[in-house]
Subunit: 143 residues, 2 copies
DNA sequence: GAAAACCCGACGAAATCAGTCAGGATTGGA
DNA sequence: TCCAATCCTGACTGATTTCGTCGGGTTTTC
C-alpha cells in the first residue's frame, strides 16, 4: 500500500514546477537538484507526464519543462494516476474484470467504494493547495 | 498502489467468517477452499488477525476460527491495517518522520490528507456491509 | 493415542521497483 | 556553421518485496 518513488518524485517535481510557474521552462537538471531526485530517473517520469498533457517541454538550449496549466487546474490525482497507473487498490476493477464471479463477488463493491473514495480525495487536492502555506481546508468536505 | 494478496485474501477470509458467523468455528481448510486461497498461506494471515483480536481461534479437533465480534463491529480498515500495516501511502508519516525537512515539507500535508481520507473510507465499511446485497449506502457521506 | 486443527520460522522462486546507461534528436546562440 | 544545452527513448541490471511452500512443532477433542 505504499506509493512507489514514481508517484512521490513526480509530485515533488510538479510542486517544483508550480513554484516556478511563470518563471519560464525549468531544465530537468535544476528540478532534479532542487528536489533531490536522480536526474536520469526523473527524466523517465517526465515522459508520461508530458504525454498526458500535464507538462509541456521546450527543447533545445534554454529549454526545460513547465506546467501546461495553472497549478490550480492540476490535481495530484491526475499526477498519481499518470505515474502509478489506476489507483485501483485491486486489479479486479481496472480492466473491467477478469474476475470469474464478477458482480456476484461481495468484495468487489467494497474495492469499488475504496477506489472511488480515494480518487475523489486525490482529485480534491491541487498543486495550488500545496503552494499555500495555511494548511489547506479540503474542498470535498471529507472526514 | 495495489493492495497485496495479504489484504485481499484477508478480506475474503473475514467475509467468509462473517457469512458463517454463529455457525461455530470454521476450520482453516474450509475457509481456504471456499475462498480459493492456499491453505498454508492463509494460515500466515490468520495469526496477526488473531493477535489483533479480530478473530478468535478454537484449537483441537472440530476447532477453527470465528469472528471475535459481530460483523457490524469489524471494519475493513481494521483488517487491512492488520495485514498491510499502516495505510500510509508514504513512509514519511508512519514513524513520525525521519524526513529531514519535516514540517517545512510542502508535500507532507498532502500525504497526510490522503492517508487520513483513506483511513476514514475503510473505517466506514464493515463486514456487515458486505453481507447486505443492496449495495451499501456509505455512512461517512463521502463524495 | 491418534487425528484434527492451530502455530511458527525458514526458505526460494517470481515479480516489481529503482535507478543507470548509451545513444539520438532538437534547438538556441556564438 | 557548429557547438552546447536540452529533451527523448529503450534496454538493462541489481535490489527489494511479495507470494507461496515446507517441515516441523503444540494443543485439544474424540
Amino acid at each position: 500500500m505504499r506509493l512507489s518513488t514514481r508517484g512521490r518524485y513526480g509530485i515533488h517535481a510538479m510542486y517544483d514546477l508550480a513554484v516556478s510557474f511563470e518563471g519560464g521552462p525549468q531544465p530537468l537538471k535544476a528540478i532534479a537538484e532542487r528536489q533531490s531526485v536522480p536526474e536520469a530517473y526523473l527524466e523517465q517520469l517526465m515522459a508520461p507526464l508530458r504525454r498526458d498533457g500535464l507538462v509541456k517541454s521546450v527543447r533545445g538550449a534554454q529549454g526545460g519543462y513547465l506546467l501546461s496549466r495553472p497549478p490550480a487546474e492540476i490535481t495530484i490525482g491526475q499526477v498519481l494516476r499518470t505515474l502509478e497507473g489506476d489507483l485501483a487498490i485491486i486489479e479486479c476493477l481496472t480492466e473491467d474484470d477478469f474476475c470469474d464471479r464478477a458482480d456476484g463477488c461481495p468484495t468487489r463493491k467494497v474495492w469499488k467504494q475504496v477506489r472511488d473514495g480515494l480518487n475523489s480525495i486525490v482529485d480534491g487536492i491541487t498543486l495550488q493547495d500545496m503552494l499555500e502555506p495555511n494548511a489547506g481546508t479540503l474542498k470535498g468536505s471529507l472526514q
